[in-house]
């Protein structure tokens, strides 16, 4: 069993497994795991299982779980800490390329800011857009309206 040495996974031991986080979670429908389950993994010391869960990369940090948690567990912070841990330990879920995250940070480090145009283009090149024609049309509309420059 991997010991939980990671410095910044917050307060998961407070969780009483009531499941309020998961009942309000807007993305839980997409994953077999729920926030409650991930926290249970941590309580059991199953760090690797928690890190490899596809749920980590689905979390939108919408904060609905954290404001509803009766124990004050900051669940989105746990998900973010697990994302970082997963990268440190190389426990990234199969198929997760993190292209968006890497491109974003590269841009911030280089220019201090994000250009939505460049971010969109750079990540679009890494995957086939699901509706290429519509995306191209939207791109033109946004360009015409001065929303991308």
């Amino acid at each position: 069993m991997e010991s939980l040495l990671i410095d910044d996974i917050p307060k998961y031991s407070l969780c009483v497994q009531c499941g309020r986080c998961s009942s309000g979670c807007p993305v839980a429908f997409e994953s077999e795991d729920t926030p409650r389950k991930i926290i249970r993994f941590l309580q059991w010391g199953w760090l690797k299982e928690a890190c490899e869960s596809p749920f980590l990369w689905l979390c939108a940090s919408c904060q609905v779980c954290s404001v509803r948690c009766p124990r004050g567990v900051e669940i989105p912070e746990i998900m973010l800490a697990l994302r970082r841990t997963a990268q440190q330990k190389g426990w990234i879920m199969a198929g997760e390329k993190l292209l968006f995250y890497r491109t974003f940070m590269k841009m911030v480090k280089k220019k201090g800011r994000i250009s939505e145009l460049h971010l969109g283009l750079a990540t679009a090149l890494g995957k086939m857009p699901s509706h290429p024609v519509d995306e191209a049309l939207l791109f033109l509309k946004l360009l015409k309206r001065g929303k991308i420059r």
Binding site: S61, M105, S115, S130
Partner: protein, 281 residues
């Protein structure tokens, strides 16, 4: 009222109309706004996912420059707001953190919505209305981060905030209660998990349509992008027409204050507000 304005990346890009309408409204209300020079991206949720140090140092830099200028910070993007607020709260509660990052005093941070709804207030807003929006039904949608995890004005409910309703009702329009008003639009997942994002946004637009509002009012650049610019794509996925214009709260207020449509950036909306504007005399 004088603020140091931190725009953030979106307000300089796809949400340029939010920036324009905010400036127009602020100047009409005599709110002093000075744009921060050399601001940096707040890191959104991305820095927090991959680089802990950057997720602290980026917002911290902004707080320090505001501290140096001795001014309170004004933000329009709730994602930027939440990131800066969490560093501010950390500094307030953790003296070691405050010391190590040599913050003397943390500046106030406000969303423009808070300034409108609470500092200026409905009464004063009403005085500036020259074009009443009576008869217009505006559906108020907050999304995640406007009202969570930090309460608007420190007091508003997480589940049923009323700040936008105050502003909407001051214009004479009727605010339409939306049971999904604090649900996530999926915007933050648009690039990394497109299908999930489209599903979340689709649910919202479908439910909004049932209430047949004249427009949807938002206070977040990502919500706006999803509901406005992505509306055609959502219609395709749902197999039904939505065609509801989506306005920033500043745009709706600006219309009622008689500000020129172009200065409010209304020509930049992807879903046309023409039908709505025709109904306003």
């Amino acid at each position: 009222m004088n603020y140091l304005y931190y725009p953030g990346c979106s307000l300089k890009g796809a949400a340029i109309d939010y920036d324009e309408s905010f400036r127009a409204v602020a100047s009409a209300l005599d709110i002093g706004v000075e744009e921060m020079k050399d601001w940096e991206c707040c890191g959104a949720t991305v820095a927090k996912s991959v680089d802990k140090n950057a997720s602290v140092s980026l917002p911290l830099g902004t707080l320090k420059s505001a501290e140096k200028e001795g001014k309170d910070l004004l933000m329009l993007c709730p994602s930027c707001y939440a990131n800066h607020m969490s560093i501010k709260v950390k500094a307030q509660n953790d003296s070691v953190f405050k010391e190590t990052h040599s913050l003397d005093q943390t500046p106030e941070i406000k969303q423009f919505l808070e300034v409108l709804a609470f500092d200026v207030g409905a009464e004063k807003l009403r005085e500036g209305i020259v074009r009443s929006l009576k008869g217009i039904r505006a559906l108020t949608y907050y999304g995640c981060l406007v009202a969570r995890p930090f309460r608007l004005a420190g007091t508003e409910s997480h589940e049923n905030p009323k700040a936008m309703e105050r502003v909407v009702e001051a214009t004479g329009a009727q605010s339409v209660f939306f049971p999904y008003k604090v649900d996530c639009c999926g915007g933050t997942l648009l690039i990394s998990r497109e299908k999930v994002a489209m599903k979340l946004c689709g649910n919202l637009l479908k439910e909004a349509k049932k209430l047949s509002p004249d427009c949807i009012v938002v206070a977040c650049p990502l919500c706006h992008f999803m509901l406005d610019a992505k509306q055609r794509a959502v219609e395709k996925e749902l197999g039904e027409k939505i065609r509801i214009p989506v306005l920033y709260i500043t745009q709706l207020l600006g219309i009622a204050m008689g500000i020129d449509y172009k200065r409010l950036g209304l020509h930049r909306l992807v879903t046309s507000p023409k039908a709505l504007l025709q109904r306003i005399k």
